[in-house]
Amino acid sequence: MHESDLNQYLNELTSMWRIRHFEEHVAQLRADNLIAGSVHLCNGQEAIYVGTCAALDLRRDAVFPTYRGHGWAIACGTPLDALFAELLGRAGGVNGGRGGSAYLSAPDHGLYGENSIVGAGAPIAAGAALAATFDGSGRITVAAFGEGAMNQGSVHEALNFAAVYQLPVLFIVENNRYSELTPIASMVRSDRLYSRASGYGMRGVRIDGNDIDTVRETAIQAAAHTRSGGGPVLIEAMTQRLVGHYFGDAQLYRPDGEVEQAREDEPIARLTRLLAARGVAQAELDAIRDAAHQEVAEAAKRALAAPLADPSTIEEHMYA
């Protein structure tokens, strides 16, 4: 393995661990009622975020994920302290606690906002790409959403809108098989969702979303294609979540053994096996995991010590 390839893998492993540990901390904070309300964790889907962001230039590109967006936020480089603080309702959160887990943004890091309305981010991402056709920025945008969102009218409109103007946008379908508690198979007759792209005259591919190499290389190609005016691309990334839809989901709807199998197939386990097979020492792999854990734990601690959002500020920023 080339040294640069190895470094890339190790960085990706770090990034994925950072996300995983973040989510595990969030689960604990939620269980302890230090975080209030619904949280949607992305454990198991990390390769999509890390792989895609490798294709982006986040000083100009813009990412529009869903409520399940912590992984995107971290892959974009949003500071962990400010993310924890946001979920914990602290003044120092990326949105001072106003957004919360499911609707936060960090535009300084290219994260133009989670969205808690299924499908609603897709036309907004298309619009951000539309701006690029006027402002000479060379920006591309990413609209990320789940497979269930493919049945929402706004996603359809966004796909056609992007196709007709050949907008520089990547539609990333994070196909984790379930929409809340219902399997995609019971919500569509044809589950080859990427195949809808051709009806819009748009490129569509299905990939293994748990393989960091595949995600990264697909994203790099697709980004180059769309950035150079080739039009939008739809990437259906197959993955699985290792956890419930939201914190507290008992997952009774998942068949026996599914989660166990998913633990074998998840991207961190896969990259770890790959690196071990290519001769990276177990100690080094463990050190990466542990360093990420420590980074996350310290960020959480700092956020917990920070002051809550100040109620006297609630009237601010309603209008220009």
Binding site: Y67, G89, S101, A120, Y253, P311
Partner: protein, 337 residues
């Protein structure tokens, strides 16, 4: 669970299970009902409100894609053909992705066809902020529905009303929006009498009698208002709390009659003030020329988006203490002229 239809003794149920009991009765007694929505069937609803109904009623209860326009449009079409669909829109905030189907479609059916067609569908949804809920999952939007002629609108505030109003909605031959309270689903338990009659729509309820001020409210805010009334009581002031229950049909007679007795009016709601349904209540009292001892008061959320952080939500949305303070002031305010 016992056969709900034949029991006269009250049973203690959570708000969520009271809705469930009503749905179960409707599905059992009315063969024309069908029930569908996102996650309502096999999973039994993300809040558990529809649980066991799929098991009991089979394919009349089914899960749908995440397609609110198809859910609402599908319900309208089925209703036109003689079904009596009951659908769930998981959050009231989500109705806006498919608002056309309610405003331009369901609401027009009967009037425009001169009564040749009708659309007896029930849309169950829920609203309100709960700690941490984001700005897209926290709004109180009843005023938008209440401005649409052709839509019936109710907001049950107790387990008994969750049961009765749900049944009344299902029995109604026009489209009805039932706005439930997520906060109450599992936190509020109370006695429910099932009765044998099928309840009908309409009618406010005086939730607490009083003489010093009339407090009009609806939905989960009833409990805020009742707590505030209790605080007033400790100060020697008696607030009469009217739970509207139905915004359409609107039982303004109960309100007018009460205000005529107390001479003071406050309206309390979680929704933001400007254009909230409190304005309608205040206006009805004013235009009916009911003499007031002091200007009417509206208590609601200031015109803000809803922040997620509990510390911020707590400051934005009326609570018992802030409502009590406003009511107290209203009770002691001077005469109008």
């Amino acid at each position: 669970m016992p056969d709900t239809a034949t029991i006269a003794e009250p049973t203690t149920l959570s708000y969520a299970m009271a809705v469930n009991a009503a749905l179960r009765r409707a599905l059992a007694e009315r063969g024309d009902t069908i029930l569908f929505g996102e996650d309502v069937a096999l999973p039994g609803g993300v809040h558990g409100v529809t649980r066991r109904l799929r098991t009991e009623f089979g394919e009349r209860v089914f899960d749908t894609p995440i397609s609110e326009s198809a859910i609402l449009g599908g319900a309208i079409g089925a209703a036109l053909m003689g079904r009596r669909p009951i659908v769930e829109i998981m959050w009231a905030d989500f109705t806006f992705v498919a608002f056309d189907q309610l405003i331009n479609q369901a609401a027009n059916v009967r009037y425009v066809s001169q009564g040749r067609l009708h659309a007896p569908l029930t849309v169950r949804t829920q609203q309100g902020a709960t700690p941490g809920s984001c700005a897209q999952h926290s709004q109180s939007v009843e005023a938008l529905f209440a401005h649409i002629p052709g839509l019936r609108v109710c907001l049950p505030a107790t387990p008994q009303d969750a049961y009765d109003l749900t049944l009344a909605a299902i029995g109604c031959d026009d489209p009805v929006i039932v706005i439930e309270s997520r906060a109450l689903y599992h936190s509020m338990k109370g006695p429910v009498t099932f009765g044998t009659e099928w309840p009908t729509i309409g009618g406010a309820r005086t939730a607490r009698p009083g003489t010093d001020i009339t407090v009009v409210t609806w939905g989960a805010t009833l409990h805020t208002a009742l707590a505030a009334a209790e605080a007033l009581h400790e100060e020697g002031l008696e607030a009469e709390v009217v739970d509207l229950r139905w915004l359409n049909p609107l039982d303004d007679r109960t309100v007018l009659e009460s205000v005529a007795r107390t001479g003071r009016l406050a309206v309390v709601h979680d929704a933001n003030l400007t254009g909230g349904f409190g304005a309608e209540i205040t206006s009805r009292v004013a235009e009916n020329g009911i003499p007031l001892l002091a200007p009417p008061v509206r208590v609601g959320t200031n015109d803000l988006r809803i922040p997620a952080a509990p510390s911020l939500q707590g400051a934005a949305i009326p609570n018992a203490a802030t409502v009590a303070e406003r009511l107290m002031k209203a009770c002691t305010a001077g005469s109008l002229s």
